[in-house]
């Protein structure tokens, strides 16, 4: 619009009676908010500005929880570093850890409670107050509880902050329908398999620095970065450990391997059975250890007796000589062998048995409690803050896998596939509300269309997150959480990373490095949010901790510590540790409980479907600068590796006339086309029957302005997930794909 006057003339004229009256009327009305300033005389800062170091940070750019310090300049976090007092990661952080600064100030972060006044999947957001948001959540959850029972609520948690609300919904509200991505789409089969072999959880408890041999099945350390684990691994290699890597792809680990077994995907269990059978037949196992601690060894030996080297060689598409070479190397290095349990193990739906095989192999080699073997650190003891179990009995009755007598070795919670099917079908009961906390089920769970169907039939969907990830598009109410740099949260404990060093234990609670309050947002921590919900749902008297800070203090009290004390100790309390070696675990080579439940009591190999003619199997993994989708919007990390190339074997590329740098899509067996064309990487480092890419890319929510449409989401192609019979966990390396270039679909030659 054109102005009839200048600002100057306006201001001169502003003494006009009408304007003056209006101005004083407005000022007098009290409608003007307080200004965001206070007066403070200026003092010139020194040459380092006003830089201060704040201790007590615990990284959550992934879930390894390295200990941090933050450099603050005038209230702005300018840098993150490893806490020099740390005996775990030390002063080191990985690229993601460093880039945490950019998460804190990401312009796309969720800032205020939002209400969806549009539709699920096509939201229109309205900022609302916390009271309004919480009242609405409570009323709508209450409605579902009233109509459908507590089991009508499903929860999808992920990350440290989700633990407290998860326990609330399970233990107090009383729903069994908890689908934790970290179990059902990641570690579940591993943890349950080791518990049912050694009686303890696997963790990644292998003493790699002191190993003579390290066996990695699919694990690609180097692309998968967890700082202290990488240190252990590299120390082991430096100390001369022989590295065996079993992987269809020339991974970062394969590149360092003494033996690279380029196995056919899906056949790892056959490979492991053959090695064990060979060792047993040859008598090249730790007889003393097995005799003393083994259970069901004879049955086990019999059950795997068919697994000859030649048998496995054929299945695994590797030479019998190579399998023998691996077996001999393991035997020669025993008991100082790190048989790595892996981390993300939900591959083919036969994963529990593969993990059982890894545990049994560890036992056969006597590689338990000895240098280089499976060794559990002796960490410090802490207290617990727990919701009372008032709803657990109810929850148990409605646990879907128990009702159906399936997946009898499920990790805690309910297998995702059953939960989702129940929600969609309404059988055996209705699931009508969904609480999603820190998880992005669109990308964590295979079968996206089913997930969307499940969401669409809900009466209420609550999402709590940091960033507007894809799942947030389906929320009715979307709540913003404080990040790991702004909140009190878990207490990280552990010991020094190398058992050769002085034995020390550490206790490091997560403490905020920057202020929790800001005029720019109203983010809250999960303890506050959950407590406010609990109050509104009539559970005020069960609240175990009034705040996150109080929760941490309670946990610390059992170790005679306080937050105040640990602050004085620069964020990490160190105390003398003890020698972790010498632990002995009974080994269930043949597990009678499994057999009784109708599963194989000895580890077995179940063949997986073969790629149809013209297709290759799609496998996926990680890149060192990203943690799935969680880091994709981070400007620094995004700039490092913005998209996920597709790895294709040189021979295939040659036949199809493709070259590195071509832009291609993938099409799966159900005709689903990947959303964005990405760069082709032609390499000798992958089998012909396999195509690889990195997970977590291809964000669809445009509200993630850096990440949106960068790379493609391989989860969108996983439309035929397998389900592990024992655990109910998903198998996700089950998709078969062809290449599409310029709209033309190309068959993969066999």
């Amino acid at each position: 619009m054109a102005f009839q006057m200048t600002r100057r003339s306006f201001l001169q004229a502003s003494a006009t009676a009408a304007l003056t009256t209006a101005l004083s009327g407005w000022l007098a009305s009290g409608a003007k908010a307080q200004s965001g300033f206070v007066k403070k005389p200026f003092t010139a800062p020194g040459s380092f500005g006003n830089t201060t170091t704040v201790t007590g940070g615990i990284c959550e750019m992934c879930f390894w929880r390295c200990q941090l310090v933050g450099k603050l300049r005038d209230g702005k976090l300018v840098k993150l570093e490893g806490n020099p007092k740390s005996v775990d990661n030390g002063a080191s952080l990985c690229a993601r850890g460093n880039a945490g600064v950019k998460l804190l100030y990401d312009q796309d972060r969720l800032k205020f409670p939002l209400k969806n006044v549009g539709k699920r999947g096509a939201p229109v957001w309205k900022k609302i107050s916390w009271d309004e948001a919480l009242d609405e959540c409570a009323a709508r959850l209450q409605g579902v509880i009233k109509n459908n029972g507590p089991q009508g609520i499903a929860i999808f948690p992920h990350g440290a902050s989700a633990t407290y609300p998860m326990h609330y919904f399970e233990h107090v509200v009383g729903t069994p329908n908890n689908s934790e991505a970290s179990f059902f789409q990641c570690r579940g089969p591993r943890d349950i398999a080791y518990i049912n072999t050694f009686g303890v959880e696997a963790g990644e408890s292998v003493d790699m620095p002191n190993a003579k041999a390290i066996l990695l099945i699919g694990t690609h350390i180097g692309e998968n970065i967890h700082v202290s684990q990488v240190k252990q691994y590299l120390k082991g290699l430096e100390n001369g450990a022989k590295l065996i890597v079993v992987d269809p792809r020339f991974s970062a680990s394969a590149a360092k391997a003494d033996i690279w077994v380029q196995i056919k995907p899906g056949t790892d269990s056959a490979f492991l059975l053959a090695i064990m059978n060979y060792l047993v037949k040859k008598g090249a196992y730790d007889k003393a250890y097995v005799q003393k601690n083994g259970e069901g060894f004879d049955k086990f030996a019999k059950a795997i007796a068919h697994a000859e080297l030649e048998w496995a060689a054929k299945i695994c598409d590797v030479s019998a000589a190579q399998i023998k070479e691996v077996a001999d190397l393991l035997a020669k290095s025993a008991p100082h062998v790190s048989v790595h349990p892996g981390r993300h193990v939900t591959w083919y739906g036969n994963d529990f048995q593969r993990e059982r095989a890894l545990a049994c192999l560890t036992g056969l080699l006597g590689a338990i409690g000895v240098k280089g073997g499976f060794v559990k650190a002796k960490g410090p003891k802490l207290g617990k803050v727990a919701w009372p179990d008032i709803g657990v009995e109810h929850a148990e009755q409605f646990a879907l896998h128990k009702m159906a007598e399936k997946h009898k070795f499920s990790p805690p919670g309910t297998p995702t596939e059953m939960l989702r099917n129940t929600a969609i079908s309404g059988k055996p009961y209705s699931i009508k509300a969904c609480v999603i906390w820190g998880q992005n089920p669109i990308q964590t769970i295979p079968g996206q269309q089913e997930t969307i169907k499940m969401l669409q039939q809900m009466d209420f969907v609550l999402v709590v997150d940091l960033m507007p990830t894809d799942i947030t598009m389906y929320a009715d109410i979307l709540l913003p959480e404080l990040s790991y740099l702004e909140r009190y949260d878990i207490v990280k404990t552990g010991v020094q990373w190398d058992f050769n060093d002085k034995h020390q234990q550490y206790i490091a609670p997560r403490m905020p490095l920057v202020s929790q309050v800001s005029a720019d947002h109203q983010r809250k921590d999960s303890v506050w949010i959950t407590n406010e919900l609990a109050k509104r749902l009539g559970h005020a008297k069960h609240i175990p901790a009034p705040s996150a800070e109080a929760m941490v203090d309670k946990i610390l009290a059992a170790a005679n510590l306080t937050l105040a004390q640990i602050k004085k100790e620069d964020g990490i309390h160190l105390q003398p540790g003890s020698n972790p070696y010498g632990a002995v675990y009974p080994i269930k080579f043949f597990n009678e409980d499994l057999a009784e439940a109708g599963y194989s009591g000895a580890p077995n190999y179940t063949p997986v479907p073969e790629p149809p003619q013209g297709f290759a199997r799609l496998v996926y993994g990680r890149v060192p600068v990203h943690t799935f989708n969680r880091t994709m919007n981070n400007v620094w990390l995004n700039a490092e590796i913005p998209e996920n190339p597709i790895w294709l074997s040189e021979e295939t590329a040659h036949k199809l006339g493709l070259k590195s740098g071509d832009k291609v899509n993938l099409v799966n067996q159900d005709g689903v086309v990947s959303a964005n064309a990405v760069t082709l990487k032609v390499t000798q480092g992958i089998r012909k029957d396999t195509i690889f890419t990195a997970h977590g890319y291809g964000t669809k929510n445009p509200a993630m302005t850096n990440a949106v449409n960068k790379g493609f989401d391989e989860q969108s192609l996983i439309t035929n997930p397998a389900v592990d019979p024992e655990t109910g966990a998903h198998g996700m390396r089950t998709s078969f794909v062809r290449i599409m270039k310029d709209g033309k679909i190309l068959n993969i030659p066999s």
């Binding site: 600002r7 201001l11 209230g75 702005k76 950019k102 100030y105 800001s518 445009p702 509200a703």
Partner: protein, 188 residues
């Protein structure tokens, strides 16, 4: 500062700052629209003020429309937020919050005797910058206000305004952006 002492120009900038806060009934009230009316009339702008008053004042439905628009323009949105009201987003390469220009702004505040009241507040929010100009004017620091406009505000506000206008036809924000532009642009 007390109301009685506030001078006319300062009050105008407080008014502009207020206009970009989250729309609430508490401030979208008669006196607010009286003032808006008066300014618009003095400027001989098309008389949208009446329409705005009818649409948004004491009108629950209109208020909600404005709240949704504010959320979409400045907070979080689907498909994407239109225009985060922070200078860093427009001036600094990475487009993150709290970039170098925000640091510059904070220093400018400090050098002129002002500190943000919240430890975690981000300095270069549009509301804060307009409030700050008002504070300077309140103290009679006209040259400093001009310096702030010249060295900082005018570098990003037009970019911000352009982004809002390219993604929104909302008359309230159109009018207010026009007013901010008028009261901050360089004059011969």
């Amino acid at each position: 500062m007390t109301n009685s002492k506030t001078r006319t120009p300062a009050a105008l900038y407080y008014f502009l700052a207020q206009s970009f806060r989250y729309p609430e009934q508490a401030w979208l009230c008669e006196p607010y629209f009286d003032l808006l009316d008066s300014i618009v009339q003095n400027l001989d702008l098309n008389n949208d003020a009446l329409w705005l008053r009818q649409s948004y004042c004491a009108n629950q439905e209109g208020l909600e429309i404005l709240q949704i628009e504010h959320t979409r323009l400045f907070i979080n949105a689907h498909p994407a937020v239109i225009a985060p009201p922070y200078s860093s987003v427009y001036l600094d390469q990475e487009g993150n919050l709290f970039g170098p220009s925000a640091v510059w702004v904070r220093k400018f505040y400090q050098q002129h005797g002002f500190e943000l009241s919240g430890e975690g507040d981000i300095p270069d929010h549009l509301v804060l910058e307009l409030d700050f100009i008002a504070l300077l004017l309140d103290e009679g620091l006209y040259d400093e206000a001009e310096q702030f406009l010249n060295e900082h505000f005018r570098k990003w506000f037009p970019l911000f305004k352009k982004r809002v206008l390219s993604g929104s036809t909302n008359k309230f924000y159109y009018t207010l952006l026009t007013l901010v532009d008028f009261f901050t642009q360089e004059e011969p």
